[in-house]
């Protein structure tokens, strides 16, 4: 997102709105396409799709510079795209090709690009929060105004690493934002059970941090909350916890039968809450953007993803000797 200057206030220019839409649309298309392709059996391993939660990644990352960092989760495609990772290289990675963003060594759960400030998807739930505390420390020691954001799920917010990080960020007064993506489930287990239905944002109080809850389907709500928190962090005001309430459209991983879900649960949400539909309606009705602008983006995104998938399938496999490369810088 480094191309676009971060807005000081919540006000967004047309370019920024279009950029935000492009990001959300790219994520949606990327995930919907993976859902289809996965069914063909051509994709190795397992993938966790972000579709439905686009407004969160986009609402937060549109504020970030390329020298800011994010630490992601096992459901990391959306954060990676929003932070500016190359979409074709991501797709190639998911197919296990040498052209992949990690040369095929990481796959969906380990997509990373430090040059873009993407500290990695993470196969360990709760793995990311401590890492962003470290990035915050780097910024403090350097005296830069960089910030770092960790994304964690509702389930991940029960991991000790997440809770310890809230306290460390408070004690060290770090420029960090903890975004909790509460999408209603940790695999098959709902927050009403695994955290007694208490808002995760409430946990912030106990560590002396501000904690707020926003609608994760509403790009503008997320964008505004994230903007304030990031501004505060950049200007030495310390850390914030933002809980975004949303919903994933697909299973926990591709192949999940989702027996735990109520009938029509997803269809209903798609019909009434979809973040892309809501965004489009709002910006067009407000006359800030017109339909053609959006459909132009839709088309270019479709082409981008088509090409990414085609290139990924046509990509080259790593060679067996690469098993032993890049374990160390030197050994």
């Amino acid at each position: 997102m480094s191309a676009v200057a971060p807005p000081v206030s919540g006000e967004l220019t047309k370019d920024q709105l279009l950029e935000a839409y492009r990001v959300m649309r790219t994520i949606r298309e990327f995930e919907e396409r993976l859902h289809t392709e996965f069914a063909t059996g051509e994709i190795p391993g397992f993938v966790h799709l972000y579709a439905g939660e686009e407004a969160i990644a986009a609402g937060v990352c549109t504020h970030l510079r390329s020298d800011d960092y994010v630490a992601s989760t096992h459901r990391g495609h959306g954060h990676s795209i929003a932070k500016g990772c190359d979409v074709a290289a991501m797709m190639a990675e998911i197919y296990g090709k040498r052209e992949g963003i990690c040369h095929g060594k990481g796959g969906s759960m380990h997509i990373a690009d430090l040059s873009k400030g993407m500290l990695g998807a993470n196969g360990i739930v709760g793995g990311g929060p401590p890492l962003v505390c470290g990035v915050g420390l780097t910024a403090k020691v350097r005296g830069s105004d960089q910030v770092a954001v960790s994304f964690t799920g509702d389930g991940g917010s029960n991991q000790g690493t997440f809770l310890e990080s809230l306290n460390l960020a408070a004690a060290w007064h770090l420029p960090v934002i903890f975004v909790v993506e509460n999408n209603g489930y940790a695999e098959s287990t709902p927050p009403t059970y695994h955290q007694s239905g208490v808002d995760v944002a409430k946990r912030a109080d106990g560590f002396g941090l501000p904690g707020i809850v926003v609608d994760g389907f509403d790009f503008f709500a997320v964008h505004e909350a994230a903007g304030e928190a990031i501004q505060r962090a950049r200007s030495g005001g310390g850390a914030t916890l933002i809980e975004c309430k949303g919903m994933r459209y697909f299973g926990h991983f591709e192949g999940d039968q989702q027996t735990y879900r109520g009938a029509g649960e997803v269809e209903e949400i798609r019909r009434t809450r979809d973040c892309l539909a809501a965004f489009s309606r709002r910006v067009t009705e407000a006359g800030m953007v017109d339909d053609d602008d959006l459909s132009a983006i839709d088309q270019s995104v479709t082409e981008l993803i088509d090409r990414a998938v085609a290139d990924a399938k046509a990509g080259t496999d790593p060679t067996p000797d690469e098993v032993q490369t890049d374990v160390y810088v030197s050994y």
Partner: protein
């Protein structure tokens, strides 16, 4: 009455039969009921791969979903064991041990010793291990060497449905903390398994295959790959004896020594990384105890000193293959005994 069922069904059956027999047996883990309190609770998940399916409804109050807080619930299993239950906690992937290792190795494993023999901690940690499903570096590890290193823990790694059932039942009945390793590539394998409950004692290696030329020690999935290699080598006139220790701690070293006394040649195949690994452990013990019986240098066949890669080509190169195993055996078989 034995019938053919899968490794996964054998594990489910062992849990069900022990919970039936002993009401102090409880099981806990992320999504092992799967959807408690949700709209779909009636058709509960039964674990990410369905290994515990059906138990939630059968044993009300004794099958518990947990928050993603491994330290808390693995520690809770230790506390429950010390106060009278026989908990079986599932750690979905063994790779997650890093977030709860203290409760395993400093708490559960050391209670009895630190407390002068006054504590008993009969708990089992069931966990999935091994490479093969393109799950990459954080979901494919083989960490039995770390658990085997820790005094106070017992470590079990069945290679067949028969062993899976008998060893899990023994693990649940055992009075010490047990790490029960289920290889993810074996869940779908089938074998003859008696319907009734039975326990396989620890520290009793299984002679999977008799042979005179070379002893192959292998664990978990490697037992199957070693059998493929042995079959191929048969045609070349090299006769392999395959010993599956089944438990790495306690270890049935005597059976391995017995086999080496007969063959004089040893190849250890293991899926864990090489440094301070299980292959090194066996080679070192055999060399120290039976140096005089060795006709050739023992060989270790393991993955390289690197994490598990994602790409199929890379993961296949990472895991020891029947060909690599066979090559090592040929080398050891061909090597002349030192004058």
């Amino acid at each position: 009455m034995a019938r053919r069922i899968t490794y996964q069904q054998a594990i489910n059956e062992a849990l069900a039969q022990e919970m039936e027999r002993d009401e102090t047996v409880v099981i806990m883990g992320e999504d092992i009921a799967g959807g408690m309190t949700t709209a779909g609770e009636d058709d509960a998940w039964g674990g990410v791969l369905g290994v515990t399916k059906g138990l939630y409804h059968r044993f009300p109050g004794r099958v518990l979903d947990t928050p993603i807080s491994e330290s808390a619930y693995v520690g809770a299993a230790a506390g429950a064991a010390a106060s009278g239950l026989r908990p079986v906690a599932e750690l979905m992937f063994v790779d997650f041990m890093g977030v709860c290792f203290d409760q395993i190795f400093n708490q559960a494993a050391k209670f009895r010793y630190m407390f002068g023999g006054k504590a008993k901690t009969p708990m089992v940690i069931r966990t999935m291990w091994g490479a093969g499903i393109r799950a990459a570096s954080q979901h494919s590890q083989s960490l039995h060497p770390i658990f085997t290193h820790v005094p106070g823990l017992k470590v079990v790694a069945p290679s067949t449905p028969y062993d899976a059932k008998g060893l899990l039942i023994q693990s649940i009945r055992d009075d010490d903390p047990v790490i029960f390793l289920e290889h993810k590539m074996l869940y779908a394998t089938e074998g003859d398994v008696p319907e009734e409950a039975y326990a396989i004692p620890f520290a009793e290696a299984n002679f999977v295959r008799e042979g005179d030329d070379v002893t192959i020690v292998a664990l978990g999935r490697m037992v199957l790959l070693a059998q493929q290699a042995a079959a191929e080598l048969d045609g070349e006139g090299i006769s392999c004896e395959i010993v599956d220790p089944r438990t790495t701690s306690p270890l049935d070293l005597d059976s391995i020594l017995e086999s080496v006394e007969n063959t004089g040649r040893l190849v250890v195949v293991d899926e864990a990384n090489p440094r301070c690994g299980f292959a090194a452990d066996i080679v070192a013990q055999v060399t120290q105890e039976a140096f005089g019986n060795l006709k050739a240098a023992p060989r270790m066949v393991t993955p390289p000193h690197s994490p598990v890669p994602f790409a199929p080509v890379l993961e296949d190169a990472y895991v020891p293959s029947p060909d690599v195993i066979a090559a090592a055996v040929r080398e050891v078989a061909g090597a002349a005994a030192p004058a």
